[in-house]
Amino acid sequence: MISRRALRVYTYSTAILLYVPIAVMVINSFNPSPYIGVWEGLSLHWYQLLLRDREAFTAFTNSLTVAVVSSTLSTSIALIAAFQTRGRRLVALDSLVYPPIVMPEVAEAVALFLAFTYVGVEKGWLTVMLGHTAFNVAFAYVTLTVSKVRFEELENAARTLGAGRLEVFKNIILPLAMPGIVAALAITFLLSFTNFIKTLFTTGPGFYTLPILIWNRARRPGVSEFASQNALNALATLVTLVALSIAVAYTIYMVKRVRS
């Protein structure tokens, strides 16, 4: 048997290695030199620059808007369907919902591109949002229907106790469905906010999201001060921070619920 010690050392080293690139990125974001290899001490230069970075700001708001709209829309659509079936899975619906998740993202992106072109829709905010929604709706539905709560039975119990439709909804269904709804919203938001490939194929001139911006800058570093390596590191660090804080907030929320 491979010794426990060896395995442990290996596991911890791998864990650390996993975060080294990210650590490097974060540390370098404080490096005032535009180049990664040249260390010039600690500074908030790039972060200050970010405040003046119009492009980044636009990209951020764009990503945010698309993500908020898409996640709300897709969660609502999925919720209406899931609610009626009281969270039970219908086989027919299942088979309809899985393909978007299974299909390779590039293929889906190309399909969206071709479809939008065929229909003649001008690519931009709308097409990006719609593209995200197609995928999000499936994810939201799956998230909402993995619940182990037997909604129908609880509803029956409440009815025999005299509760009318509204009361059942307010006191039984809503509180128990809430974690699922929040999860669906969080997941679809994140998927949309960080989405790259679908966005790449469905965006039009003048509209760009944060991932698109990062992509462009990462491919051609040094073209402008904003796009230099460490500036990008600063941006990337910020985005990572936001993502992590959402993750932490969500975990705390879940833990609180489990405790209560």
Binding site: M1, I2, R4, L7, R8, T11, A15, L18, P21, V24, M25, N28, I36, G37, I77, A78, I80, A81, F83, Q84, T85, L96, V97, P99, V102, M103, P104, E105, V106, A107, E108, V110, A111, L112, F113, L114, A115, L130, G131, T133, A134, F135, V137, Y141, T194, F196, I197, L200, P211, I214, A218, R219, L232, A236, V239, T240, A243, L244, I246, A247
Partner: protein, 260 residues
Amino acid sequence: MVSWRSRLVLSIAPLVLTLATLFYAPTLALVYYSFYDRFRGALTVEFYLDVLLNPLYANVIIYSLNIAVITVLATLALTLPVAAYMTLYSRGLERVLLLVVFTTPFWIDFLLRAWALKSLLYMLGVREGFLALILGMIYDYIPFMLLPIYASLARMPPNIVYAARTLGAGALDLWARIIVPYALPGILVGSTLVLLMSLTELVIPTLLGGVRGFTLGPLIYTLILAGDEWSRGAALAIIVTVLSVLTAILAYRRFRGLMF
């Protein structure tokens, strides 16, 4: 009183409609374009044949497959010990912490992780190329391989190792007869996942591959967005999709009871 049946239909309608218009219709468009020659206005299989037989494309496909297979094998080798440690030797707080540590990368943008690695490699003097590409693929896909394997190993009842040892199983027997069979479903799921995802990967080959980064993903991108070869791009996309869906169905059938 609106009948239950019609209420059901009404609530499922938005979901079905959304999927139909934003996913299935585009997929149909994809199929259509893969057979439709825009310039001659005729339907043909020529694009499929070209894509599969023309050495120009065939080489890319084979190259991508190679990269994908290498990625799968490498991530497998790297993550198996970690999964083994986590399930066999780790308990309670440590296990939860390790799990959190290894799942957090999911919350961090795919794109950003690739960029972070690129920065690090840059610092170490590794420039864009084959090595960077492989390292990038491995780095990005480790969580995708680790989690399924962990999940599947975690189903192993804790006493089973003890039981086997009381029955006289030595180290080799233990691994071969107990641990590997339990890990197998996870290994297969993870491998399938990583294989399919890395085949169509666009971000990493472009960012880290340099000249050697022309795989299926970038190929499709070039065909569709950078060029005008929509039909060939569509044909490629369809081929990859069919592959993915088939593999997914096979995997689901085979391992349905074991993992889900």
